[in-house]
Symmetry: C2
Subunit: 416 residues, 2 copies
């Protein structure tokens, strides 16, 4: 894929908007990845959408490997299914956006989807043999948060991957729950966050209060506090950091230190209650009619964009890990006289990897500053100087090293 920067409509900015306090949103707005619509509401611009698509691709692969099938549920939600489980009232769930149809009937906007998905399954899940079923979606959730102050990390509208498991019983649920933990671990490793992401057990807030876990990524801008073991890959949520837990794990309190973290994933065991309330039962030859066992599994896709921006950035701008970068290589043509060569090279490279090609009439200094801000992993500079040597200048955003290579050498590096 090849994007000509002269064609990209987004402009970078030297200054972040004055009303944006979070580093992730400041950088993403300045570099033209997102636009702030309102507090906690952002639009995804071309480069931002590409980062999202790369994250989605990784998550999709891992969910499909679990045997999950992709669906897309509606944002408009039927009041009835939420009344059935006593989660319609604002006293029970405090993040609802609600409105009315023309006939005056109330309608809710999807902040989560356990109830509609459970109800949707009723014509499809009838017999014991129909289970297990795993489904997932990438969906824009709407949540009426009181405050939204962490940029794209806590939004009133955000993209979530939510997966739901329908199992025969607790034992088969637990097997899948463990496999989901492994799949999530793979996702965060592939995103370049494995070394700073911890599986913690948690109380589940409005969702559930047992058998739930969170994936917490160490991040100064995170809204959670976790206690991280100094020597082992273990962390405990604030809620469970107590003598009982420490004794259960055989840990010493002094081996843990307090860290700020962002919840990038969570997994919940709902049990059978919700399926009983919504009427999702299956027939079993031995036991007769039995309610289905439900689990749910979330990953905050756009929150991850924010976390990645917080962690992979410096004072000059963003520094995306290769697997989520909107392009693999940023090609900079420094003078008009080298544009013919640069264009041909960018085209050739674009057939193998994703390329952003800066073909604009700006100074070298402006191009370098913008490239630092945008944060593509590899940079190739083509100038009269490099051309005189019959080479290109190759560098990486993440370190200061520069080498002169032939185009063939670089094509080989990037393809391998």
């Amino acid at each position: 894929m090849l994007i000509h920067q002269s064609h990209l409509f987004t402009k970078t900015r030297k200054e972040a908007p004055s009303d944006e306090a979070a580093k992730n949103a400041q950088l993403l707005i300045r570099a033209g990845y997102i636009n702030k619509e309102m507090s906690g509401v952002y639009d995804y611009l071309p480069l931002g959408l590409k980062v999202i698509q790369k994250i989605k691709h990784i998550v999709s692969e891992e969910m499909e490997a679990l045997g999950s099938q992709e669906i897309l549920m509606s944002t408009l939600q039927n009041k009835d299914v939420w009344v059935a489980t006593d989660r319609w009232d604002d006293d029970r769930v405090d993040v609802w956006f609600k409105s009315q149809f023309k006939n005056g009937a109330e309608v809710g906007f999807g902040w989560s989807h356990e109830e509609p998905i459970t109800a949707m399954m009723k014509p499809h899940v009838v017999s014991y043999q129909d289970l297990p079923v795993y489904v997932h979606q990438f969906q824009q959730k709407l949540r009426n948060e009181v405050r939204a102050k962490s940029g794209i990390m806590r939004c009133r509208e955000f993209m979530m991957k939510d997966m739901y498991s329908f199992s025969r019983d607790e034992a088969s649920h637990s097997d899948f729950y463990q496999r989901a933990i492994e799949a999530y671990t793979n996702v965060f490793a592939r995103l370049g966050l494995g070394h700073i992401t911890y599986l913690t057990s948690a109380s589940g807030g409005v969702f559930t209060d047992k058998f739930s876990h969170e994936f917490q990524t160490l991040c100064e801008a995170g809204e959670d506090i976790i206690y991280v073991h100094k020597h082992e890959k273990v962390a405990l949520n604030e809620e469970v950091f107590n003598d009982q837990t420490l004794a259960d794990g055989g840990w010493k309190k002094e081996d843990f230190e307090l860290k700020k973290a962002a919840e990038v994933g969570n997994i919940f065991t709902f049990g059978t209650k919700k399926c009983e309330e919504l009427g999702l039962f299956v027939m079993n030859a031995h036991e007769g009619k039995k309610p289905v066992f439900l689990g749910s599994y979330g990953i905050g896709i756009t929150r991850l964009v924010g976390v990645l921006a917080e962690i992979f950035s410096d004072d000059k701008g963003l520094m995306w890990p290769a697997q989520v970068a909107p392009a693999d290589v940023h090609v900079l043509a420094l003078q008009d006289s080298v544009k013919a060569q640069a264009a041909a090279f960018a085209k050739q490279l674009g057939e193998k990897v994703d390329v952003l090609y800066d073909d604009r009439a700006l100074t070298a200094g402006q191009k370098f500053a913008e490239a630092d801000l945008i944060g593509i992993p590899w940079r190739v500079v083509i100038s009269e100087k490099t051309q005189a040597q019959g080479k290109i200048e190759v560098s990486k955003r993440a370190d200061a090293s520069r080498t002169m290579q032939t185009t063939e050498e670089f094509l080989q590096t990037i393809s391998s």
Copy 2:
């Protein structure tokens, strides 16, 4: 791609839900493509989502060929930008869903995106040289329709591809407008609807009242009426079917016949008014500060799913055109004894094309009836009888012909 039908959670149904009057939704629900959440609100299940993805792929290619860049705007919309153009009041736009933030401030849910996209462009479009800009998105629109009675063809929540053009002046807008007409014509041709889709000029309702066109596909379930020329590929919208238009075109009234049609696409010229109201101006060395010229271009993605279901179906079920079918080939294994061969063949085939493989323990009659309902273009039957001949039975959903082929012969047919 290979989907094992034993793994697909959706069940087909003999009867449509009693509250569903539209043929498209009846068939799509019975075949397990969609689920009815509420009147005018549907969920997209695995096969339905695949049809949507295939349509999106075709539309994406044509929009990118126009030079449009993909973005994704928020569903939550800022009241201010709609007040600025006098489209916030329910008297002006009667399809708003609205709600309130926790602080009491009103928020709208996106029924269209001209205003937010125009406002979003302000930091990016500053100079004459920044134009033109073309952007598009695939977005779930929410519209508070009084009635929703045509199944998935008129929904309160639906997927739209909306594109927006920002041009220097009317002349450059007109050039792009013509190119957009060609791209839309390509889209409908590639979807298999070219022969029954007409470009008609129209009044634009709440959008605009000049320089707008619709793409109307002949369809008995459509909500529009057009007058189609008996001999030429010409049709006129009901609103403009009058003596003046006929005289302008040099047509005779008696050469037209009334037909039901569905609006599958529309293109609008907004002119400069909206950009003036929202403050999107560019500097031009010769003329100073000038407002940008706006156009918008919609295609109803999920409406198209409904139109395709209406048109490509018979009394047995759906009959998808190859380019939008959820799979290319439906492989049916009729007995347990042939499953090893069928599974190996389905796997091999799935490396070249998209395959749905019926590996379930059902009677041949049940499998054929379900295959007719689901409507995959090619069908391959593997049974003890075909195995005895060393062949497979190949047929097409759209005609009754059946041939015996070797697996090699069929692989060659399908790959060519």
